[in-house]
């Protein structure tokens, strides 16, 4: 009995170990294959913004700029919408609507990135172009809105990222809100709170988890490839303008990986992949930590028996 149980543990454990091994292998492989580029360029790689591999220039600043800018913009749009949906589905909506709404948000999450990208190219970009053209000249003078109205660019990318991130973030936020004890809301109502005030009390209780949910959405946005590369314009420049075509780390990998003719080019691209890997890893670990910390807060404190005369 003993040895067969041990055999079972080792046998099944080997498969579990394979999972662990894969993650480690990814990290090692990325680090290894980017070492050429890291050694050659050092930190200047991420400080220069001229990306011209044909001429041997490898400035990767535009990619990290584009990734962060597009993801932050997307989160600014998506976070309130996702929270609104989460609150509506978990607190406000009539029971009969709940199932269908959850199904629809899951459907939104399940649509492949390439399909969003296709829709992005042929529907969203022309619409954004129309908006950009209709923008009054006074606003156009601002750096935020400068540049020719191409349609493709940061704005379209942020919009499509927001659409893709909303269902994911709202699903997690919904789970987080479910762990808030009903007694918190009841306490608020009993003190004369309106609906909004009682929900606000519940959201305050869940604030760590909600931040975690938003951060997880941010992590998703950082790594999104296809939809972004099809609408962002793929131009390696650092620009504040929403209209300017820009580039992200994931997009440059998608577009240029097969073109990388020499070892240095390839190594530079893999270094971009390594940094993307590390950033998403850090964001995901932090956000899961926040959600876990909130789950711990919900567990009740044990009652303690204290002698008379002191606290009771």
């Amino acid at each position: 009995m003993r040895s067969s149980d041990f055999g079972f543990r080792v046998g099944v454990g080997a498969f579990a170990a394979a999972l662990l091994l894969i993650v480690v292998a990814i990290a090692v492989s990325l680090a290894n294959d980017s070492s050429l580029s890291i050694q050659k360029f050092g930190f200047a790689f991420w400080g220069t913004s001229n990306w011209d591999p044909v001429a041997g220039e490898f400035g990767a600043l535009p990619f990290i700029w584009g990734t962060l800018y597009s993801s932050v913009l997307a989160l600014l749009i998506a976070a309130p919408v996702a929270l609104g949906i989460a609150v509506f589905i978990s607190e406000l909506c009539p029971n009969v609507l709940r199932g269908p709404l959850i199904f629809l948000t899951e459907l939104l999450a399940a649509i492949p990135s390439i399909v969003y990208g296709l829709w992005g190219i042929f529907v969203l970009v022309p619409a954004v172009r129309a908006i950009e053209t209709a923008m009054p000249d006074a606003l156009r003078a601002l750096p935020l809105f400068s540049g020719p109205p191409l349609g493709v660019g940061m704005f379209a990318a942020a919009l499509i990222l927001a659409v893709m991130v909303v269902p994911f973030t709202s699903a997690i936020a919904r789970e987080v809100l479910r762990t808030v004890p009903p007694s918190q809301r009841e306490a608020a109502y009993a003190l004369g709170a309106t609906r909004f005030e009682a929900i606000r009390a519940a959201m305050f209780y869940a604030r760590t988890g909600i931040v975690g949910a938003v951060m997880l959405g941010f992590g998703r946005a950082l790594g999104e490839t296809m939809a972004v590369t099809m609408v962002i314009g793929n131009n390696p420049q650092v620009s504040l303008s929403l209209f300017a075509p820009q580039y992200t780390m994931a997009a440059v990998l998608a577009n240029e990986f097969t073109e990388a003719a020499d070892a240095l080019y390839l190594s530079a691209l893999i270094e971009i992949g390594l940094v993307l890997f590390v950033i998403t890893l850090v964001v995901n670990v932090l956000s899961r930590g926040l959600i876990w910390a909130m789950a711990r807060q919900s567990s009740p404190r044990p009652a303690t028996l204290v002698p008379r005369g002191s606290e009771a």
Partner: protein, 285 residues
């Protein structure tokens, strides 16, 4: 109630908040409706028998289809499943049987991490591990990349489902003299099997729609291919190639391909939901 009355601004604020949340739901449903509308209306026009039976025509020539791409997607997902299902399910078994151990926590952490790795990075990894040694793009590399993406999904769903199996079943089997291995594989896993299969189907639907990890692993192929060491076409990569091309005819075929993808996703999602509902009702929950 005489005396104090609730100030109207508070009530207005509360009503506005409720309306705002409903608006958010609407805001999310609008793009969903938009996307589905365009995919269906544009895609249905180009869906014909040719689409499913012919390979792509040379550049510029109208007509042709995505037959090879459809087969390619099937082969790639099959490969991925062959790799991911054993590893995923058995890892899930380990995580549920040995919950508390430090190794299990590490594996769980790894699974969650792997879930969050961008798919393009996994493509880079598959490139380094399979494409470079073999010196060319291959079906194997694509299947490998997709398989890696499937593993954490299957692992976590399997773990959660196995934990739902009542402890009484495990104890009953052990009390009858079964070894742990026997108890797990003949009693516990079968009890959770419907859910596990649902999880696998959902994971398959998800990776069937992946493009980024295939861009430089399985690459693309204008013809049919069944060889593991050659590049292979796939619906997603083909749609991408067509979408960014300048040819109208290819654009239409891209919409048709997108429609096929969305249909696969919809059918699998609904099937999974129905199956889950049936299992729940059978258990009397």
């Amino acid at each position: 109630m005489t005396g104090t009355r609730t100030a109207t601004p508070r009530k207005v604020l509360s009503a506005l908040f409720v309306a705002g949340c409903a608006l958010c739901v609407g805001l999310a449903l609008v793009p969903l409706g938009f996307v589905l509308f365009f995919v269906v209306s544009q895609g249905v026009q180009s869906l014909n028998v040719d689409f499913f039976t012919h390979n792509p025509r040379p550049v510029g020539e109208p007509g042709g289809g995505m037959a090879n791409a459809i087969v390619g997607t099937l082969i790639l997902t099959g490969l991925a499943a062959a790799m991911a299902v054993p590893i995923g399910i058995l890892s899930g078994v380990y995580l549920s049987e040995y919950r508390g151990s430090r190794f299990a926590s590490a594996v769980r952490f790894a699974a969650d991490t792997l879930n969050g790795v961008p798919s393009i990075v996994i493509g880079v990894f598959a490139y380094a591990v399979v494409v470079l040694p073999l010196r060319h793009f291959s079906t194997l590399a694509g299947g490998f990349a997709l398989g890696i993406m499937m593993i954490p999904i299957i692992t976590r769903t399997t773990e959660e489902l196995l934990l739902l199996v009542p402890n009484a079943l495990r104890e009953g089997a052990l009390a009858l003299g079964a070894t742990r291995a026997r108890a797990v594989f003949t009693v516990i896993v079968p009890a959770a099997l419907p859910g596990i299969i649902t999880g696998v189907v959902l994971a398959l639907a998800r990776i069937a729609g992946e493009t980024a990890p295939l861009l430089f692993t399985s690459f693309n192929n204008r013809f049919f291919s069944a060889s593991l060491s050659q590049p292979i076409s796939s619906i997603t990569v083909q749609v991408f190639t067509y979408a960014i091309s300048p040819y109208e005819d290819w654009h239409r075929q891209a919409w048709a391909g997108a429609l096929v993808l969305v249909t696969i996703v919809l059918v699998c999602s609904m099937a999974a939901r129905l199956a889950a509902a049936r299992v729940a009702s059978m258990r009397g929950r």
